[in-house]
């Protein structure tokens, strides 16, 4: 790998964490964590060659553009960045992806989704945050709905979810809401993770081609 230094034949990127330890703490096997490490090395050196995933590299990996603005991708990045130091290291990468595994506990997915939608991290999903997300989705899809319609649908969902009627959705209300509407968690599962070691042969071929020894 271009930016990962070679030490006694073993290459570690600065964001590295012990694979076996990581596997034991997540839904991944050691082999899968190894495969994720290969992926991580590539992602973390795509723009800023320091072995850590920066926001631009994340955006580039998702959208093939390092400065595409997307509210939800930003939220995902922020949540992956558990230590809140502006970069995703390997441990954070694996731990966060683990939540998207089909076998991950639903409670983890529910909690993660809640934090995702709590845009300003107040511990609650406020109505204006919900509207902001709807508007963002519409903009992203080049879809126009009048403000009336947007207000109406936000209102409907919000009042359904806010069972305590206090003007904001807390984690308990969210949990109940998800139990009634399980499809809300559809974006919290990545089927690809079930079989990572087989999932990206094209990627493996490419990384071999790019592999350059640094002496």
């Amino acid at each position: 790998m271009g930016c990962v230094p070679s030490t006694a034949g073993v290459k570690y990127s600065p964001g590295y964490e012990d694979l076996v330890k990581l596997a034991s703490k997540t839904t991944f096997t050691v082999n899968e964590v190894e495969a994720l490490y290969e992926l991580y090395k590539k992602l973390s050196c795509s723009i800023i060659k320091d072995g850590l995933i920066h926001k631009e590299e994340f955006q580039f990996a998702l959208f093939r553009s390092s400065n595409k603005k997307n509210l939800f991708a930003d939220r995902v990045f922020d949540l992956f960045d558990i230590k809140r130091n502006g970069v995703i290291d390997f441990g954070e990468f694996v731990r966060s992806l683990s939540i998207f595994h089909p076998n991950a506990p639903e409670s983890e997915k529910i909690a993660f989704a809640f934090k995702l939608y709590d845009l300003r991290q107040t511990g609650y999903i406020e109505r204006n945050e919900l509207k902001e997300m709807v508007v963002a989705l519409l903009n992203e899809s080049d879809l126009y709905l009048s403000d009336d319609i947007v207000e109406t649908i936000v209102h409907k969902t919000f009042t359904q979810a806010d069972s305590k009627g206090d003007g904001r959705i807390d984690l308990d209300e969210w949990r109940d809401f998800v139990k009634q509407n399980p499809s809300l968690l559809r974006n919290m599962t990545l089927p690809y993770l079930k079989d990572i070691t087989m999932a990206f042969p094209s990627f493996i071929v490419r990384s071999e081609a790019e592999d350059v020894d640094m002496i």
């Binding site: 990996a61 939800f72 939608y117 709807v134 649908i153 509407n181 499809s183 974006n187 990206f200």
Partner: protein
């Protein structure tokens, strides 16, 4: 694109398309009609309920992390549009458009073979809540032997043949139909589909 009804011209286009497909007899219109009915009914088997905006939000491409794993190509491309047309109109229109596109593809594909008369049949298939629907198409090509495979989101499956004729399957999908009512009582329909 604002939520609006189809113009007269768009309606005429739909009629013309339907007539063309019928007259060429290269498309099994009876099957398409059946499919459209089936799609509508199965879609409506979920009571048209209030739209849940969290469900809508979950479709953002910002959540689709699949490009991390499949080399940059987004797994799902979809087109959203909002319309005032009732779902039945949109479904039938999408089915006809799909038939047209696939007909064109099949007739220009190298597999069409000599004297390639073929018939297009669209099958409906229900999947999931909120009226998730898939339109799978079979193109029966009466031609030289050719390899056939079914492509889907999970990759290719081994070849199969049916009753001596060759079968090629491509799977355009009508992903989601969601019903909602706007404040003035009109029906606005969101549809995401890809071909």
């Amino acid at each position: 694109m604002s939520p609006r009804s189809w113009t007269d011209e768009e309606k005429r286009h739909g009629d013309l398309l339907s007539k063309y497909l019928y007259l060429t007899r290269r498309v099994d219109m009876k099957q398409i009609e059946k499919t459209i009915q089936y799609l509508i009914v199965s879609g409506m088997s979920e009571r048209p309920s209030d739209p849940n905006v969290f469900h809508l939000i979950s479709f953002s491409e910002g959540f689709d992390l699949s490009p991390l794993f499949v080399g940059g190509k987004r797994r799902e491309e979809g087109i959203w549009f909002a319309t005032r047309e009732p779902a039945s109109c949109v479904v039938s229109r999408v089915a006809l458009d799909t038939a047209m596109i696939l007909l064109h593809r099949a007739s220009t594909s190298p597999m069409a073979g000599s004297g390639g008369r073929f018939r297009l049949r669209i099958e409906g298939e229900e999947r999931g809540r909120m009226g998730k629907l898939a339109v799978a198409t079979d193109i029966f090509i009466v031609a030289r032997r050719c390899s056939l495979w079914r492509s889907g989101a999970t990759g290719a499956t081994p070849p199969s043949s049916a009753r001596g004729s060759t079968v090629m399957r491509s799977a355009p999908t009508l992903k989601d139909i969601m019903w909602t009512s706007s404040s003035d009582g009109q029906i606005a329909t969101w549809i995401k589909y890809k071909v």
